[in-house]
Amino acid sequence: MFRNPSGCAISGIISTSGRRFSGKIIVDSIAAMRERSNGLGGGFAGYGIYPEYKDYYALHIFYNDKLSKKECENFLEEHFDIINLSKIPTRKVKEITDEPLIWRYFVTPLPTKLADSQLDEREFVVKCVLRINTAIDGAYVFSSGKNMGVFKAVGYPEDVGRFYRLDEYEGYCFTAHGRYPTNTPGWWGGAHPFALLDYSVVHNGEISSYDANRRAIEMYGYKCTLLTDTEVITYIIDYLHRVRGLTLDEICHVLAAPFWSTIEGKPQEERDELEFLRYTFGSYLLNGPFSIIVGFEGGLMALNDRLKLRSMVVGQKDDMFYVASEEAAIRVVQSDLDRVWAPKGGEGVIITLKEQENLAKAG
């Protein structure tokens, strides 16, 4: 019996100039940390991968069988204009077995339905996704953003990457996960990333505050159905960022709030803000060890728990930023780095496209 060195792996790569690069690079990066996974889950999120359909929501859906597919497609037809639908292209890989039916739909909400709902478009899409995932047995929407997509399965991440032909996609940002489930089942829906709209989360760790977080977020219409803790982080980020309008920086101070003793030592203005966030959003503090990479339209964010009980390294080479659980997973795809550092516990690293920064400055 060999020792099994545990711990999930995460990796993320982004070009801040928005230059699109092949998904092969993220597969090579995550593959360097094979020992951190055990073959029970791997996955990727790619941003900027569907430029030809960039104005449509790309729904990636797992179906257990044709019946659930039929039921789900009826629902989709009632609520959306379906511009294009197809099986997601896969390749036969002997390591990946028992795959569900995996379909992709490019959709836009039906104007009448949307008007009837009195919801804004993104809220409408969220409601529909949650509806499918809770009410249609055997159907699970695992990706629902624009110009982005999640690809995940049970297997080692490098095998999952080959299965989904990730090398054939090009994007300006990719994230990846290699799973080593410790106390929840390894199944297709439980693989990372977890995504809602364009937000996606890959996570190494264990949220010991899971149930408190779940109870808090479920008051706002979210429903945790996937038997694993990471799902709740995705919903919390969607809620705090999209619904409540917090900045990503503020979200880092909510998820990994500094200790009261640390807050006490801060200058008054910063102290007031940190205290406000802790008092107001205390239910969304994530306790327990974690490192996460959050992907979103136009950027990514990396964050460690405040005690830094998981590892994370960031590297930069020109316009490219790399985040990974281990430095080796960065070096293997870019050995010549301008800068490499380990962010502190609770210190979010937020990297956005230059074009968006310029827009923000102009606006």
Partner: protein, 238 residues
């Protein structure tokens, strides 16, 4: 012996290293774990980024890293030497009980966590740059020196010495440490303290080409546990 690690898994690589009677040079290392674990003789030179638990249970061999190391370097190391020309990750010298580790750059969180000493076994860690929070957490013995070279800021994070009940930590800085836990006492290092740790400073100076004048150019603060039995009444009178 020269090894190219590029396409080798950690198991294959370590079998080759273990099997070699002579010194080993490993090129293109990308994250292979456990390199040099338990090794008692020879020198292992690594060009690249060795994986976690480098030199775990090291028992007398020397390891030199031309690059950055990852987490848990020298985990439970018993004897020997690890020299890192770049940075080290979290939990450097985890539970270490003998030997020496020298890091030219920075180290991560929980440097020297639960190091211990017994009779002639006294582990030493010298970090040239800064460390993360929880430096010397649960420290039970041994010596940690943080030089803070190249920074005017205080070179450690929060919660230094939490749970410390043995050993010594020296931090070189013109800023006085703040927020130390109750069981840690702070003093400025005396000339005799410096004398005691001097051989380690000289070794660092020689290894990395930093002058002794520079090293001794700032104040050294000395952290010690303030009782021989800090857990005396934690649970019950003992």
């Amino acid at each position: 012996m020269n090894l190219c690690a590029l396409n080798l898994g950690y198991r294959e690589l370590n079998e080759l290293v273990h099997g070699s009677e002579e010194d080993v040079v490993i090129d293109q290392c990308f994250g292979q774990r456990f390199i040099g674990s338990g090794a008692s003789s020879k020198t292992i030179i690594i060009n690249g980024t060795p994986g976690n638990a480098l030199g775990a249970y090291l028992d007398g061999a020397s390891i030199i890293v031309n690059g950055n190391a990852q987490d848990a370097v020298g985990d439970t190391m018993n004897d020997g030497k690890i020299i890192i020309y770049g940075n080290a990750g979290d939990t450097l010298g985890y539970g270490m009980r003998g030997g020496k580790i020298f890091v030219r750059g920075n180290s991560g969180y929980r440097t020297g966590i639960h190091m211990k000493e017994y009779r002639d076994k006294k582990p030493v860690i010298v970090v040239g740059g800064s460390t993360g929070s929880f430096l010397g957490e649960y420290l039970a013995g041994g010596l940690i020196i943080v030089l803070g070279l190249g920074t005017e800021e205080f070179p450690t994070g929060y919660f230094t010495g939490t749970g410390m009940h043995g050993g010594e930590i020296f931090i070189r800085s013109n800023i006085v440490p703040r927020g130390l836990p109750k069981q840690v006492t702070l003093s400025q290092a005396s000339p005799s303290d410096i004398k005691r740790i001097e051989e380690n400073l000289v070794e660092f100076s020689d290894l990395f080409g930093v002058s002794m004048d520079e090293i001794l150019g700032k104040t050294f603060h000395r952290l010690m546990p303030n009782a021989t039995n800090p857990y005396k009444q934690l649970y019950t009178e003992n």
